[in-house]
């Protein structure tokens, strides 16, 4: 064979191979002709252009291939758009389902994405580990000696409120008190100036670093800010540096910081540094973070730290020195929300599973509707099959339709998740510290949404496409009746609808219970009177006051306010009702009583309140008295206990004048992890002290979730406490006659006493409670929305089934009507299937819901608080479902009554 023959033959073969890959429709019409023309052209081309010509010929066909496929896709998309536009009801419902389904999945992903985000601006966040519970400074000093484990370590106190005065204007700003190694350990570089030198000596004139955000907002991005002096808690401090953009410290989500003060600063600059903070072993207030050496695992570091902690406990003879459990637990230090390693999968999976479930319901629903539609379209499909379209081709076209539908939903779904997440991110949190939940979707969420969409499109399109193209040509062409694999098609769809009804009823009932439980706790603020009560927070220590001067200031202020004619009661307080800025609480031990009861039974909530607190809040004193001036001295050891404490610890006998032993409780469970509950102040020594009960106060329901009542102990607020106020500062509670604006009066009086004092958190008690409950309110709305959405989806599915049933039986119905059947007989016939499905689904759904509620009751008190089975929900939920379901069956079933018997018989 000559070279020329070989080249021509090879080209012909290659051309044939490429041509066979062309779209089916193209091949059907032009395939043979093109091959023939190419065959005729190969020889002349070879003679005229040689190898280049043959290559050109092949290149032409290879380039044409994608062009033809693109054009087919374009046609399919156009066709899909036309078909979808032709049935706006179907398209509308499908779009809404998909937008909600994909939107919810995107929300779940945004949440995971936001919660598991790395701290912004930190170098190699994966190397960082954080110690779970706060530790004391002496402990930190021992831990940081482990330099075979850590490259570097740092510790910080957070959150710390500062009164920052710039140009004579004071504002409360959150910051951290940090070791000089803070920035170096995080691997952060200053935007301007420098950070703290590592050899910073204690007691120096305080230098501070400010955040980029603070620099922008308070100094208008002044490039000459380094070296400026500002007043910090009344002390002058020099700014030595500005942090990088977006950097808000080591824990931006729960303790975001706008300024950093070194631990070496003069203790007068911050009350947190006073009273020997750096020497005391009993003050566990430092968060520790370390950067691991390469090759050192987090487990190894944890073991090493535990060994040191054990040594320390043994050295000092701590009461728990024989404890076997680990004392130190490490978290991922580089995450915006520090989580234990074992908790990360939970966060990821729980949210994603929830989101995927809703997405699956939506997909099942749209698939169902597509199946019903396939019945309507079988004639079109049969015609195309008869005309030679391949099944694969038709499936591809039907899939295009579902993907087009899904892609149409994607932008709205993403928008929905942006709106939802923005609302969630801006939700006011009940804590006194600013918690920044940055859950706003980023490009990752966008990519996720579109991936999920494409996947979804194929997912809900595939089954209907396969089923629709498996038609019996002859019968479909003849009369359009469904004779295709009837039994199986129906059972798949019925199973889908059945599971949907059951699942949505369960969802509705469970979410309804949660919602009702939350609604029940909302507004029920038993035990005190929130009407005509206002609160204002003051923190004179952060303005440079000493504790004694602050006491004098508060004395004058309360006296002046009491003189106002519309003020009925005034008090100062540290803790508030309906607030989560709690503390670990206290442990009880009552003399002459066995300590056999479990430790948790001895736990009580701790409140620190001023005199007149009970009169002002309206909490009744049931026995004994409230606090008086003589209780507010440093030596007085008096307490008021709650009714529930009396019930639990004294068997309801009157405890007034009895003495009990109290000690600090350790942070446990949620209290250790819940941000804003950290309170390292302590008014009891670690070994416990004896207190005298002077009164019994009525129980106050003050939890976010109405739960069993907690015992509570009230301590008097002493003037010394003004020097170590809580994160909120000292709160002034004022009760007025109805309709008076006391907040501006308080502003006036404070202004008159000292214009430099700033007030914060000024609001009415009602607003305070509303904010306290806002997160729960949002949750209850979300649940209600999800339940209702599921129900609507299930009804749409039912409507689809009935429509399908009508189409399927058009012929039968026509015959029956010709034979004299009444409209209602026909209705009963076509609705039977839907009604049976609804009945079975309701029973299954109820059973699942009841077991679900029982399981949840163990987890959430709110559900249990409805006493298990609320008749409104238990009867109302299924009734709502059945009504919607019957309506969903009836609407398409009505079509059956319009079938013309004459037309049917003519087809016969």
């Amino acid at each position: 064979m000559s070279v020329s023959n070989l080249a021509v033959l090879l080209t012909a073969r290659l051309f044939r191979a490429l041509a066979s890959a062309f779209p089916h429709e193209f091949k059907n019409v032009y395939g043979e002709e093109m091959l023939q023309t190419a065959g005729d052209a190969i020889n002349p081309t070879w003679r005229r252009y040689g190898v280049t010509g043959l290559l050109r010929l092949l290149l032409d066909v290879a380039l044409r291939l994608p062009v033809e496929y693109a054009s087919e896709l374009r046609r399919d998309v156009r066709h899909s758009l036309r078909t979808l536009a032709a049935s706006p009801a179907f398209t509308g419902v499908a779009l809404v389902s998909l937008v909600l389904g994909i939107g919810v999945a995107s929300c779940a992903y945004s949440e995971v994405n936001g919660l598991l985000r790395d701290v912004a601006g930190v170098r190699e966040p994966r190397q960082l580990v954080a110690v779970h519970n706060p530790i004391s400074y002496p402990t930190y000093k021992r831990f940081r000696e482990l330099d075979d484990i850590f490259i570097s370590t740092m510790a910080y106190v957070a959150p710390v409120p500062f009164g920052v005065s710039v140009n004579g204007h004071t504002e409360r700003t959150w910051g951290h008190i940090v070791t000089p190694s803070y920035f170096a350990t995080l691997g952060v570089r200053p935007r301007l100036g420098t950070f703290f030198p590592s050899d910073e000596r204690p007691g120096q004139a305080p230098n501070i670093v400010i955040s980029y955000r603070f620099w922008q907002q308070r100094f208008g991005s002044d490039p000459a800010v380094v070296g400026r002096t500002i007043l910090l808690n009344g002390q002058s401090c020099m700014i030595i540096g500005v942090g990088p953009r977006d950097f808000l410290g080591a824990s931006p989500m729960v303790f975001g910081a706008d300024l950093w003060l070194p631990v070496t600063a003069d203790p007068r600059a911050a009350p947190e540094l006073q009273n020997g903070t750096l020497e005391r072993r009993d003050l566990a207030m430092f968060q520790m973070l370390g950067r691991l050496r390469p090759g050192v695992t987090s487990d190894a570091a944890e073991a090493a730290l535990n060994a040191v902690a054990q040594q320390i406990a043994a050295t000092y003879g701590d009461p728990d020195r024989d404890r076997k459990e680990p004392r130190v637990q490490l978290l991922d230090g580089g995450r915006a929300l520090p989580l234990r390693k074992q908790d990360v999968p939970f966060f990821r999976q729980f949210l994603m599973v929830l989101g995927s479930l809703l997405l699956l319901i939506a997909c099942a629903n749209v698939a169902n509707m597509m199946l019903a539609r396939a019945a309507d379209r079988r004639k079109e499909i049969a015609v195309r099959l008869a005309l030679g379209a391949s099944r694969a081709r038709l499936i591809r076209q039907l899939l295009t339709e579902s993907v087009v539908l899904a892609l149409g939903a994607a932008p709205f779904a993403f928008l929905l998740s942006v709106v939802m997440m923005r609302r969630l991110s801006n939700l006011a949190m009940p804590q006194p510290i600013p918690i920044v939940l940055d859950l706003n979707p980023d490009w990752r969420v966008l990519a996720f949404t579109f991936t999920v969409t494409a996947f979804t499109g194929v997912l809900f399109g595939l089954a209907p496409a396969f089923r629709a193209t498996r038609t019996d040509l002859i019968s479909s062409l003849k009369d359009g009746a469904v004779r295709f694999s009837r039994h199986r098609a129906v059972s798949l769809r019925n199973a889908l609808v059945l599971s949907q009804i059951a699942a949505s009823l369960m969802l509705l009932l469970i979410t309804g219970y949660m919602g009702l439980g939350i609604q029940n706790t909302l507004g029920v603020q038993e035990g005190f009177d929130p009407k005509d009560l206002s609160l204002v927070s003051l923190d004179p220590v952060r303005e440079g006051y000493s504790a004694a001067r602050a006491a004098d200031f508060f004395d004058k202020l309360t006296t002046r306010l009491r003189q106002q004619p519309f003020v009925t009661a005034v008090c100062l307080t540290d803790t508030l009702p309906a607030a989560v800025d709690g503390n670990p609480g206290v442990r009880f031990s009552i003399p002459k009583r066995s300590v056999s009861a479990s430790v948790s039974a001895h736990w009580a909530r701790k409140h620190i309140v001023g005199r007149d607190y009970f009169e002002t809040t309206g909490i009744r004193i049931l026995s004994g008295r409230g606090f008086r001036k003589e209780d507010q001295t440093d030596t007085a050891r008096t307490i008021v206990v709650s009714q529930e404490a009396v019930r639990q610890f004294w068997n309801s006998e009157d405890p007034v004048a009895q003495r009990i032993q109290l000690s600090n409780a350790e942070p446990t469970g949620g209290y250790g992890a819940w941000p804003g509950t950290l309170d390292f102040r302590s008014n009891i020594s670690n070994d416990g002290e004896s207190f005298q009960v002077i009164g019994v106060a009525r129980d106050v329901s003050e939890d976010i979730i109405a739960s069993k009542r907690h015992p509570a102990v009230y301590f008097p607020l002493r003037p010394a406490d003004y020097g170590q106020p809580s994160l909120r500062g000292v709160t002034l509670l004022t009760r007025t006659r109805p309709g008076f604006d006391v907040i501006s009066a308080v502003r006036r009086e404070v202004q008159a006493l000292d214009p430099n004092i700033t007030i914060s958190n000024a609001r009415t008690m009602r607003d305070h409670i509303a904010q306290f409950m806002s997160a729960l309110k949002a949750a209850s709305w979300t649940y209600a929305f999800m339940g209702f959405f599921g129900l609507v989806l299930a009804s749409v599915g039912l409507a689809g089934i009935t429509a399908h049933s009508v189409a399927k039986r058009a012929h039968e119905i026509g015959v029956r009507m010709a034979l004299g059947a009444q409209q209602r007989d026909v209705l009963a016939l076509v609705m039977k299937e839907g009604v049976i499905l609804t009945a079975i689904g309701t029973v299954i759904g109820l059973a699942l819901a009841l077991s679900g509620i029982r399981a949840l009751s163990a987890l959430f008190f709110s559900v249990a608080s409805i006493q298990g089975y609320d008749p409104v929900l238990l009867i109302g939920g299924p009734c709502l479902l059945i009504t919607l379901a019957l309506l969903a069956c009836y609407l398409p079933a009505r079509r059956s009554t319009r079938i013309d018997p004459v037309a049917t018989l003519r087809l016969e």
């Binding site: 051309f15 041509a19 193209f26 019409v29 032009y30 043979e32 002709e33 093109m34 023939q36 023309t37 190419a38 005729d40 052209a41 050109r56 010929l57 032409d60 066909v61 380039l63 044409r64 291939l65 062009v67 033809e68 054009s71």
Partner: protein, 121 residues
């Protein structure tokens, strides 16, 4: 069915489309014939390779600018396997519109003296 488009809405016509329509303006042709005609008419400058040719024919058919012809040439010239194409009325209108557009273009260029200068230099 798409609404009928005006001939002007196709302008300016893609060169391939124009050449195929032009080769069908006098006689019906089969694919290979069109290929040959275009090649000869343009002195070998424009060559419609088979895949491009049939892609173009498909588009023109879809747009109703050409159709298959039932008339066959005399039996001794006829290749029974081949399909013949001819212009539709719409195709003829589109070809005419494009020709007018090109003529107008050439007229404008001439009026500017563009071609003359090119030729003289």
């Amino acid at each position: 069915m798409a609404k009928p488009r005006t001939p002007e809405s196709y302008l300016p016509l893609k060169p391939h489309w124009f050449h195929v329509l032009l080769s069908l303006s006098n006689d019906d042709q089969h694919g290979y014939g069109i290929m040959q005609e275009v090649l000869e008419r343009t002195d070998g400058k424009i060559r419609l390779w088979p895949a491009t040719l049939y892609g173009t024919l498909k588009r023109l058919m879809d747009e109703d600018l050409i159709e298959t012809s039932e008339e066959r040439p005399s039996p001794e010239l006829d290749d029974s396997r081949r399909r013949y194409y001819r212009l539709t009325k719409q195709g003829r209108r589109v070809l005419a519109a494009e020709s007018r557009r090109l003529e107008e273009l050439v007229r404008v260029i001439r009026a500017k003296g563009g071609l003359r200068r090119e030729a003289s230099s």
